[in-house]
């Protein structure tokens, strides 16, 4: 009779558990399994087809002695830092401005969000034309009479990554703005009233009261932006295909090129393992702070 006393823990909420099986399966087999498989094969000398012939850390050795990989990592860091900062700042400022109960808010919101409806490939091609010195911004301003004006980031190796950054921001900030706007709308009207009664200037209210209250929204946007940074690939392919020279290469492109063009799977795997490692280095301390410490209310 003891059996009837308490139902087995495993069978509680059975329906929900069965429904979750496909997702659990996908997560474990495809994500975790694929990841482990990739890491394992990065220690082999697989060429076009995977094979288990161990070479130790050779692939990593070669990776970090390749100037194209080093440049890729530098580009990713520049792109990452600036894209994170500017997306958040521009997104928040736009949202705060839209929140002033202005007229035609819907119109503005649509305009700002519109680029997000375009794929990275289209965005890249559009900005390739806009930044083309013979047809785009430079030629327009020269036609206005400013003969010596030079603005051709896509053809200058030192600043090409900023040309890509501009396109990335143009595409992505609209969504960040919308999320921020939703966050701002979620703040109780009374908070503003109380702040005004206390005579706190508006910028101080934003900085010290509103933003801390919007913490969950900021975390969401942070995750979205960060995942966008690591996988940046199509934008580069469409806009510069890595050029001029190899000045705008990114890690994802290196991995693709080695795996499929160079027919060297293991080298590509080593690159993608390094990318995973980078993500973990950022993610683990954050997760520790977020979930490990004392839970905030």
């Amino acid at each position: 009779m003891a059996r009837d006393g308490r139902p087995l823990q495993l069978f509680r909420n059975l329906n929900a558990k069965i429904a979750a099986i496909p997702m659990i399966f996908t997560a474990v087999v495809i994500f975790a399994g694929g990841t482990i498989w990739t890491v394992v094969y990065s220690f082999t000398d697989s060429k076009l087809l995977p094979r288990l012939r161990w070479v130790g850390l050779d692939q990593y050795d070669r990776l970090w002695n390749t100037s194209r990989w080093i440049i890729s990592i530098e580009n990713l860091m520049i792109y990452g830092v600036f894209s994170l900062v500017f997306s958040l700042v521009i997104g928040f400022v736009l949202a705060a401005l839209l929140d002033q109960k202005i007229r035609f808010e819907n119109t503005f919101r649509t305009i700002f969000l519109y680029p997000f409806a375009l794929s990275f490939i289209v965005t890249g091609l559009v900005w390739q034309w806009i930044l083309n010195p013979d047809f785009g911004v430079q030629s327009v301003i020269r036609d206005l009479g400013w003969e010596s004006f030079t603005f051709d980031p896509l053809y200058t190796a030192d600043i090409v990554i900023y040309g890509i950054l501009i396109a990335g921001l143009w595409q992505g900030t609209g969504l960040i703005m919308c999320l921020m706007l939703a966050g701002l709308r979620g703040i109780d009207e009374d908070v503003w009233k109380a702040a005004r009664v206390d005579g706190i200037p508006i910028w101080k209210t934003y900085l010290f009261i509103i933003i801390p209250m919007m913490r969950p929204v900021f975390i969401t946007t942070l995750v979205l932006i960060a995942s966008g940074i690591v996988r940046v690939y199509d934008l580069v392919v469409a806009q510069t295909s890595g050029g001029p020279g190899i000045a705008s290469e990114v890690p994802a492109k290196y991995v693709y090129d080695k795996m499929f063009l160079g027919q060297n799977l293991a080298q590509g795997f080593a690159g993608s393992t390094m990318m995973l490692l980078t993500v973990l280095i950022v993610l683990i301390p954050w997760a520790y702070l977020e979930f490990g410490g004392k839970r905030r209310v």
Binding site: K47, L48, L49, R62, T66, S67, R68, Y155, A157, S241, G242, G243, P244, G245, I246, A247, D257, K258, F260, L261, G262, Q263, N264, Q267
Partner: protein
Amino acid sequence: MRLRSTLAALAAFVTLPAAGAQATELEVTHWWTSGGEAAAVAEFAKAFDATGNKWVDGAIAGSGGTARPIMISRITGGDPMGATQFNHGRQAEELVEAGLMQDLTELAEKEGWRDIVHPVSLLDSCTVDGRIYCVPVNIHSWQWIWLSHKAFEDAGVPVPTNWDEFVAAAPALKEAGKIPLAMGNQPWQSSGAFNVMSIALAGLDAWKAVNIEKDAEAAAGPEYAKVFKAAADAREFRKDSNVQDWNQATNLVITGQAGGQIMGDWAQGEFQVAGQVAGEDYSCLPGLGVTEVISTGGDAFYFPKLDDPEKTQAQMELASLMLSKEVQVAFNLKKGSLPVRGDVDLAAANDCMKKGLEILAGGNILPDTNQTLSPDTQGQIEDLMTEFWSSDAISAEDAQQRYAEIIANAD
């Protein structure tokens, strides 16, 4: 009445697919999409359709670099096409070793390919462990520089006959507002041009030591130092050619905006489509006019293993067709490449093709880098060359040192 017509319609509907099944469809993938190339591939399609089968064109735009990953992933992913283009050599090596490709040895022996294919080294590139796995269809050589007569006329200098004269004429071209050397920004173009320069300037022995024996010392030696110095000069000449594709660069030469372009003989198809005449509107110098030798790379067709015996039959028909005399002539005239058999009549060939045929007949041939170096090593060289050609930041000495390292680790 009504029922009968419905039945008739239904019958027609049912018989249609049956009629279609008699003509076996073969999907053929390739990356021939520029004007001259498309015209050439249409010759294959026409001849294949005439045999009662059906050519389903699977052109993949871009270049070999875009197309090959798609082809390979289709073959390894279990969705093989009927036939596919690769370059001669090692690109499909592992696919063959993995047993994914159709063995053509029987057909080859029956038709005596070993006797008709000239030079026979082409067939060797198709051979793995004594079995033949591909059909070479043309010979493409990289070792050409194409010169625009108009550009040199405008600059007031005679059309050069070798690389040194070209270098001497470059300042005059620049003054006349021309780009001395047109070159697209795709990686394979700069590494190809470099290879052409190294054959011409470092000499055959040094080139063979580096590319065939993978001798790193030769790559770091004085012969190659000359090449890197010349390449550093050429990198000045190519500034301002802000184009991507090779045919856009060729177009700069055709329209006289650029003096010349180092490019393989496939560029010739473009001149032909533009209605230009060799010797009058443009010149071609094999081996940069210094070392008259051509490499015998080119395109070959591979036939992935298929389950359907009818399709296998059609594959064999296509393979034999591609080597037949008429098709070889028709295809290669349009493509601007040389035929793979020595016994065909190319009376219609133009000046440049005749030069190529002569060199070929004289036996001054080299293997192509696609045959000697693995795609991995070639990729590393391409990376280095793109970096070197596009920025002054890396000096000729540094580039040579890194080149020697790549050769030392080459497989």
